[in-house]
């Protein structure tokens, strides 16, 4: 989908300021709730969480956990994009393949994340569990998106390509890729968000030696609620930053891979 930058006339507050105000409102509600509850164990205030995070983030334990989780997230993202991408393309090209795969995809989509993690705990070592679960959860999303991408290829352009006897690579570059690229972008956006969430959830249950999820669970057991928040904050930042990095890459080449 192309963004219409020229779209709406801006009335009053610019979007960036509105987002800032929204974030401020969120913090105020949080602060207000923390003050009314007045129990650090139930709900620490934003300032307490910030202080805890500032203490936690420079520690070697945290950095090792962050690195390990980051790698798990990237691995599951990469695997789900590669697998889901290939299967999604095949589904788009062959209705028979798509129909044959539909039941499996429905089952995967309907299976609760925690059920997948619990089964994975039985099958895999602790470090692998979060990756397996995340790949399995992101896979159907990627497949559906890429299939849609192939289906969005203009059949009249395909006829044109056939009549003028375009070479395979020209057909790919000028007809298929431009149609699939936006769907690839939306698939990777969806997969990335899903991967972080499922990886951390998997870590909470599988307890690898180094992991954000392990840190989170450890803090919870000791009723260090502010620290649970701090670990969570790290997870949120990881998701937000990779998403921003991704958007930046896309912005550089909005027509991604356009034929020269």
């Amino acid at each position: 989908m192309r963004k219409s930058a020229d779209g709406k006339p801006s009335r009053g507050i610019p979007p960036a300021a509105a987002a800032g105000l929204g974030a401020l409102a969120l913090l105020l509600v949080w602060e207000f709730a923390a003050r009314s509850i007045a129990s650090e164990i139930v709900l620490p205030s934003p300032v307490q969480v910030a202080r805890t995070a500032a203490e936690l983030f420079p520690t070697a334990r945290f950095l090792a956990a962050l690195q390990a989780t980051f790698l798990r997230g990237m691995a599951s993202f990469g695997i789900s994009m590669a697998l889901g991408g290939a299967v999604g393309l095949a589904c788009g090209l062959s209705p028979v393949f798509a129909a044959a795969l539909a039941p499996a995809l429905t089952v995967i989509r309907a299976t609760p994340v925690l059920a997948v993690i619990l089964l994975a705990l039985i099958w895999f070592p602790s470090g692998t569990v979060p990756v397996f679960a995340a790949v399995l959860m992101a896979f159907p999303v990627v497949v559906a998106d890429l299939r849609q991408g192939v289906l969005s290829v203009d059949s009249k352009l395909l006829d044109m390509a056939q009549l003028f006897r375009l070479r395979k690579r020209d057909r790919l570059r000028s007809v298929y890729i431009p149609a699939v690229a936006p769907h690839l972008a939306s698939a990777s956006h969806g997969a990335l968000g899903l991967c972080w969430k499922v990886v951390v959830a998997g870590e909470v249950l599988s307890q690898p030696a180094r992991a954000l999820g392990t840190g989170m669970q450890g803090a919870r057991v000791q009723l260090e609620t502010a620290e649970v928040f701090a670990w969570t904050l790290a997870g949120i930042l990881l998701c937000a930053l990779t998403d921003a990095a991704f958007k930046l890459i896309q912005k550089k080449d909005p027509l991604a891979l356009r034929a020269a």
Binding site: M160, L163, F164, R167
Partner: protein, 236 residues
């Protein structure tokens, strides 16, 4: 080499579209096939191009022929510029320098040299169809197939497009099969006009037009008797 469809039969289910249809396409000439909507004109083009196999009959001289198409809608690649769109169909046949030169020459011939770096959505409907004409003539085809390509624009633009076509055809005469349901278009562009009946399509009449282009123009009285005869034939 003469191109001919000989004794072609084609049905879709119970619907007989062509039954024993024979027509030749003289080289370097525009054969305008005039017929009512849905009489099987597009089927005829598809069989000619080898896209759809006939149930029986022969395609003579067409086995290795290469075809160019101008469709009802321009069918340009939205992410490519006008120039790139024309170059795209030349990639398999020419090197980079030659295809650029060729594409540019054809775009210039249809008056779009200035617009070569624009993408389809930045062009008007008439300009897009001009790119599609340039593409068809740029492609090294033996036969050009025109499937009602002047329908989706207003009269003035349509005449402009047809003039572009006639200019291109005069500069580089191709064997053209042009299907239309517009009498005036057939008279303006055709060297030979074939009138088809409703399904299954039979040839009702064949006229060779020898008048020069100036005397076939829209509004010209020179062809009014031929035009009247064609209308009588079509309207029964």
């Amino acid at each position: 080499m003469p191109y001919e469809l000989h004794d072609i039969r084609k049905s879709f289910g119970d619907l007989q579209v062509l039954s024993g249809f024979t027509l030749d396409f003289p080289s370097g000439k525009v054969t305008a096939v005039l017929g009512p909507s849905g009489c099987g004109k597009t089927t005829l083009l598809n069989i000619l191009a080898g896209l759809s196999p006939p149930d029986s009959g022969e395609r003579r001289g067409l086995a290795d022929a290469r075809f160019s198409y101008v469709f009802q809608e321009p069918r340009l690649v939205p992410t490519l510029t006008a120039l790139e769109n024309v170059e795209l169909v030349l990639r398999a046949s020419f090197g980079p320098g030659e295809r650029r030169e060729r594409a540019l020459r054809l775009l210039t011939a249809v008056g779009l040299a200035e617009a070569r770096e624009l993408r389809p959505r930045q062009l008007s409907g008439g300009m897009r169809q001009r790119v599609s004409l340039a593409r068809a003539f740029a492609y090294p085809a033996d036969i050009l197939l025109l499937d009602e390509p002047f329908q989706s624009v207003d009269l003035r633009t349509r005449i402009g497009l047809m003039d572009s076509f006639l200019d291109l055809q005069a500069a580089d005469p191709r064997t053209v099969a042009f299907v239309t349901h517009e009498v005036r278009e057939a008279l303006y562009l055709g060297d030979i006009v074939i009138v088809l009946s409703d399904k299954p399509a039979r040839i009702l009449d064949r006229k060779e037009l020898l008048l020069p282009r100036e005397r076939r123009r829209y509004g010209s009285a020179d062809l009014s008797d031929v035009e009247a005869a064609l209308y009588r034939l079509i309207l029964g």
